[in-house]
């Protein structure tokens, strides 16, 4: 037990890796491609089961407040350590990753015809890298996993994608790589600032850097701090994607195979928001506060823009992709409100979006497998032919819209509350910008309802216009089985959000405190707002 | 005035020396030509030239006159400048090494016997005294340089240009072939020659020609022909090849190439080439003598005359010329007896036999010298 407690995260990272190697070996020696999906499914399921051990109550926080912490020296020359651990921020994201992977694998049961071996290997490698991203506490190790997750996705889109896959894959890669390279420079710069100011030699360790900052041993100058912050923020904003950097997302989503889209939506996008919270807020609280208005503005633009563009998309998948842009805008908004409610909401929305949008992409995938088209115009009246499919689709859409008692609602509601409470935007006598921001975001919800429901209406209801649609088979047991856990989660998260929120409470509080209490520039204003709980004023 | 004279004096001496030496060498060369014809005739049971002068002694001068008065033909499409340059280069390079050869031992005091005779005469007396003082310890060398062996080898290697350029500039197939062959041959055998010299140089411990001779004095058993016999043989063979003599006279193989590189040359320009060849023979012989036969050293002569006295020098000098003549005779003798190589045989012989042998000789010498000096 002790062994597992101390090595659980490493095991989580390694299981898919071992799976990938075994898959390769299996194929080399037995050449039975049909068995590979079982093998892969097995590994992802095992990983999921193992990841449930994270719930174990016997776990104790490590010296730096992280659970399942592990800190092993890696390359001494540059003083980088293999330092991993989970806390409230990353806990659910890890579970989400291991949860979504088996579903993604099952979704590809019949879809992948060519080069199946490589496909499964890339899926497994991707899982490994994603888990690594969420658990690493060393900046360099984080960067390593962050970049490493690119390659499998790049191949997934490029080889198994649609018509325009090459363009989409390259665009995806270059956008993300460009951002993260700048982050690398920032990481190295941080390393030297640490070395310079503490005199302990450089370090990539997040915990040490944070401790030094808290103790006042490491003080970033305003200019340097801003540059570093921007470098980090750019990398994550591209990944999220924030409004002006979002153009890779629709392309990548549209061209990716179903499993790829699911993973992309469910997990990869969360890396950006996770990174912002974990690194940007923690390392550069002052800069985060100062620039919050920019991010809030951009997220609002993103929400509205995403919704508007989604409305006119002729392609279902593209529509869902733009809805992702809007939803991630919400997440960003919540985070940059710097209130407990807002950030909790953001975290919750990340999970909810993962489940819902993943499910939506799966559903689009199902119909694509049957009709080999995703044009809204090609459908119509599907409800008559595929009742089960329609039911599931409508429920999922509702979750995405944010209907109460489904998961989408909780997160968005919390975010709005957070925004109303927020104190990051300047509040003058006449205009309370927070309210305006919150209301603007609120219109996003309405837009979301409009475009999603309109799409549902066009696709599922009315008469069957296209003859080809008459003979469509309804969902198979496999597909239903695939959707059921997701549906259960949607409802469960909508009704009992408490356990999800409880896990992250501590971490969010800590971050919030760090952001709002450093530097002290805006502390006075807290008194102006009556509805802030007293605990947050400490 | 006096200052100018004093400054100019060394140049005057050197000029006089050069003139004397060149004159002497050219005379020897001229008579080598005659001797060759005579000796060849003798070997082949003929008489040889005997019309001009008693026993044909004036034949060389007759030949010279003939060359001078012949019509000078220049091929139409030749590269004129190079065409004219080539024979001059050939002869110059052949003559240049003479400058560094020691023709005899040092004379301790060559001119002081003159001083009493002119003691009363104004100007002349003083001048002679001064000159006698200057001339003390006079070497019988025009220019003593530290690196005589290298100088000779260097100049010899430059000699290839004359032949190569002549062949190229005549704009004739045969000339070109001859020129190419000849340069290839000379480049190839130069290596063996250089390698064969190293042994002697190592034994002497100097590159100075006079120093090499000095190292061989005291006894004829110290002549390098004995410890360096392999080197000597290699040098000799390479010397034949370097001078394009039979059996290595491929460049001018009449049956194949008409006359080789000088097919298109006539009259005085041909004479220059002709002379260059014989001067080369002479210089190579000198080199061989210096390196392997003790140069001007005559065994036992120091018992007869005092070292450094004039007669000692004279006898030594004559002996030196004698040794050279012996070599020249060898050249002629071999020309009379041996047939010509084929070109591929020549190259194979040079690269695959002569050069390895020469190198082996060097290594052997190193080992022996090392062991002896432990």
């Amino acid at each position: 037990m002790d062994f597992i407690n101390s090595n659980l995260l490493t095991i989580l990272i390694l299981i898919p890796l071992v799976g990938a190697v075994l898959t390769l070996g299996h194929q080399m020696f037995w050449k039975q491609e049909g068995q590979l999906k079982w093998l892969t499914l097995g590994f992802t399921l095992v990983n999921f089961v193992v990841s449930l051990a994270l719930f174990s109550s016997s776990a104790k926080a490590g010296p730096s407040g992280f659970f399942f912490e592990q800190n092993v020296p890696w390359i001494k020359a540059i003083n980088t350590n293999y330092h991993i651990g989970v806390d409230g921020l990353s806990f659910w994201l890890v579970i989400l990753t291991t949860f979504i992977m088996p579903i993604a694998v099952i979704s590809t049961w019949h879809a992948v015809e060519k080069k199946a071996t490589a496909f499964y290997i890339f899926l497994l490698l991707l899982e490994s890298a994603m888990i690594g991203v969420f658990v690493s506490l060393d900046l360099l190790v984080f960067y390593l996993f962050f970049e490493a997750s690119l390659i499998p996705m790049f191949f997934l889109i490029g080889v198994w994608g649609g018509e325009n896959r090459i363009y989409a894959a390259v665009k995806f890669f270059i956008f993300t790589a460009l951002g993260s390279l700048l982050m690398l420079v920032a990481i190295i710069a941080l390393f030297f600032m640490y070395a310079d100011q503490t005199g302990l030699g450089g370090s990539f360790d997040l915990v040490s850097i944070l401790n030094a900052m808290k103790a006042g041993n490491l003080v970033l100058g305003p200019q340097a701090g801003m540059l570093l912050f921007l470098a980090f923020a750019l990398a994550f904003s591209i990944k999220v994607p924030l409004f002006p950097f979002h153009t890779w997302l629709p392309d990548a989503h549209t061209e990716a195979p179903t499993a790829g889209s699911v993973i992309l939506a469910a997990v990869l996008l969360k890396m950006g928001t996770y990174g912002l919270m974990r690194f940007n807020f923690a390392l550069f609280p002052d800069q985060a506060r100062e620039t919050a208005w920019i991010f809030i503005t951009l997220s609002i633009i993103g929400i509205i823009y995403g919704a508007l563009v989604a409305m006119v998309q002729p392609d279902v998948k593209r529509l869902v992709a733009y809805s992702s842009v809007a939803h991630m805008g919400f997440v960003m908004l919540g985070m940059f409100s710097f209130t407990e409610a807002g950030m909790q909401g953001a975290l919750f929305t990340m999970l909810a979006h993962g489940v819902t949008t993943g499910a939506l992409f799966l559903l689009v995938g199902f119909i694509y497998e049957r009709r080999h088209t995703r044009k809204i115009a090609d459908f119509g009246g599907i409800a008559n032919v595929m009742p089960i499919y329609t039911t599931i689709f409508v429920i999922t859409t509702m979750a995405s819209v944010g209907l109460p008692f489904l998961n989408g609602f909780v997160g968005e509601f919390l975010i709005m509350i957070g925004m109303f409470q927020s104190q990051v935007l300047s509040i003058t006598e006449s205009i309370n910008w927070n309210y305006i921001a919150a209301m603007a975001a609120g219109t996003g919800v309405i837009f979301a309802a409009v475009y999603l429901l309109w799409m549902v209406q066009r696709v599922f209801f009315g008469k069957v216009t296209n003859e080809k649609n008459r003979i469509l088979a309804d969902l198979s047991w496999r597909e239903i089985g695939l959707m059921v856990p997701l549906l259960i989660l949607m409802v469960y998260m909508g009704v009992f959000p408490k356990p999800f929120l409880a896990r992250s409470e501590e971490a969010v509080k800590a971050i919030k405190e760090r952001v709002m209490h450093q530097g002290g520039g805006s502390i006075e204003k807290t008194d102006v707002l009556p509805n802030i709980p007293a605990t947050e004023n400490r | 005035m006096e200052q100018v004279l004093k400054t100019a004096f060394p140049f005057i001496v050197i000029s006089v020396g050069i003139l004397l030496a060149f004159q002497g060498v050219l005379m020897i060369v001229a008579y080598t030509v005659l001797a060759e014809r005579k000796v060849l005739g003798w070997i082949q049971g003929r008489i040889g030239p005997n019309r001009v002068g008693p026993w044909g002694v004036l034949q060389p001068f007759a030949d010279l006159l003939k060359f001078i008065f012949k019509e000078d033909l220049v091929p139409d499409k030749s590269t004129k400048f190079v065409y004219f340059l080539a024979p001059m280069v050939a002869l110059t390079c052949a003559l240049l090494p003479i400058v560094v050869y020691p023709f005899g031992p040092r004379i301790a005091d060559p001119l002081s016997w003159l001083v009493p005779y002119v003691s009363g005469i104004a100007y002349l007396g003083d001048a002679v005294v001064w000159i006698a003082e200057q001339a003390k310890n006079m070497p019988l060398t025009i220019a003593r340089i530290d690196v005589g062996v290298l100088f000779v080898l260097g100049i010899t290697s430059v000699g290839v240009y004359g032949i190569a350029l002549a062949g190229w500039s005549s704009n004739s197939k045969y000339s070109l072939m001859g020129g190419l062959r000849s340069s290839a041959q000379m480049i190839s055998y130069e290596l063996a020659m250089g390698a064969s010299v190293i042994g002697a140089v190592m034994l002497a411990g100097t590159l100075d020609l006079n120093g090499i001779i000095q190292a061989q004095t005291q006894s004829p058993f110290k002549w390098f022909i004995i410890p360096q016999f392999i080197g000597f043989i290699v040098f000799l063979i390479a010397a034949f090849a370097e001078t394009n003599r039979v059996p290595f006279d491929l460049p001018e193989a009449e049956t194949e190439l008409v006359a080789g590189f000088h097919t298109e040359y006539s009259a005085l320009k041909f004479a220059l080439f002709f002379m260059a060849e014989y001067v080369n023979m002479f210089t190579v012989s000198v080199m061989c003598t210096v390196l392997f036969l003790g140069g001007w050293y005559v065994p036992g002569l120091s018992y007869l005359f005092e070292v450094g006295s004039i007669p000692y020098a004279l006898v030594s000098h004559v002996a030196f010329i004698g040794k050279i003549c012996a070599f020249l005779f060898l050249y002629i003798w071999i020309r009379g007896t041996l047939p010509r190589f084929r070109f591929d045989q020549l190259m194979n012989f040079g690269w695959k036999f002569l050069l390895p042998v020469a190198i082996a000789n060097v290594i052997l010498t190193i080992v022996v010298v090392f062991l002896l000096n432990r």
Partner: protein
Amino acid sequence: MNTFLLTDLITPDANVSLILPELIVAVTGIVVMLYDSFVPKQRMVSGALSLIGLAAAAIVLGSMWGTAAPTGWNGMIAHDNLRLGFSFVFLFVSAMTILVSTVWTDREDVPVGEYHALLMFATFGMMIMSAGSDLVTIFLGLETLSIATYVMAGLRKSDLKSNESAMKYFILGSFASAFLLYGMALIYGATGTTQIAEIADKVANPNFPGLLLVGGAMLLIGFGFKIAMAPFHVWTPDVYEGAPTPVTGFMAAGPKAAAFASFLRVFVLGFPLVAGAQASGYLHQSWIGAVTVMAMVTIIVGNVAAIMQDNVKRMLAYSSIAHAGYALVGFVGAGLAKSTQARDEAIAAVAFYMLTYAVTNMGAFGIVTLLAQKNDRRTEFEDYNGIGFKSPVLAFSLSLFMLSLFGLPLTAGFMGKILVFRPALESGNTLVAALVVVAVIGSAISAYYYLRLIVVMFFRERTTSWSDPKIPVPLAAALIITVIGVFYLGLFSGGLIERFSQPGAPAVIAAER
């Protein structure tokens, strides 16, 4: 007059054990050549012999690591981490070249004995370059290397491209050598010595300060040519494209690293900043500035030009230019290092970078060699269309190498870049920081063309027929080594880096004259 010099000769300061690795390599070359001349029809033995020689040299080299510096050869040889680290790289490159080129030598009927002998001599030259602590040894090592490489570039005699490549390489290479030599002459004139250590002492107070500056500039041009630093890179693409593929791989990895070794030795160790001395301040400032600017240009030119190439070898050539630029980042860092230890670490970083580049590059060229077919026919991007899943082993390995060249984390390339950027940033110089930013942007650009090859291989469909080429055993060995190497250097390079930066011996052994 008859003096036998041997008796009164000073005993030469010959310490064979100091140059044992170099000696082993050179002797191997001679042995290979002799073996080949007596047993002419062999195809494998000379390669095996060379490999054994290289391995022996590597073992000896390893045993010399961290030992106290023996002296010898009157300060012609330095025994320090610069020499050891780089020599290791050269031995590796050479061994890989032998493994990789078996495909090619068999295919094109190359005279193997001579080829391997030349390779050994080239390796010898490289090792001398990194070990030489006197301008003479550096120059001779460089020329030994260059001359061997000229010949190797022209080994495909029946092909005009190869001839052309050799000729351009020869002319521009000797041209560069002339500049280098002029620089050396002027440095000698300015300081009165050719030993690096003495130059370093003398730099503060040279006899002719002006000459020092001019000499430094000329040396910069000369070395710039050799490492293909812009604007002296013009020869690289043509030469790399025309040369036989394994030789191109060798040229991109080995000689470039060797030139870096000497470049480091002469500039970083020879022209240090001496506090308070005006002349050395000028010199130091000028060369740092010049190299920084040139490195920026190099990175930009290399990457931008590589994007426009349609030939894989040419693309790799431009990419190698860009990589020289990245290595120069570490070079500048070494030049600006504030302490001896920092300098040693920076030098080690450059050596390590060269090692990562060598590993990646040799692997990539191995595959390109195999795919190229006779006469290097298949070297265009189009020829790689859709081979991804038809030759998966080759294609995935090649992709891995491309990603490593790009600098993807977890691969060797990333570790190399991190290490060279580190000293540069540590220096705290604004211009150098800008250089790092340029380097980062450059690597972002490079993603495009490295990915292009992957895209072509995996995402395109093949229109013409393709048969998966058979991978001969030596090449398979090379691929396994390089693939493992890429991961090993990317993940567990800690120990190796420490070895490389071990300060062990004093930088240069000064000779008592």
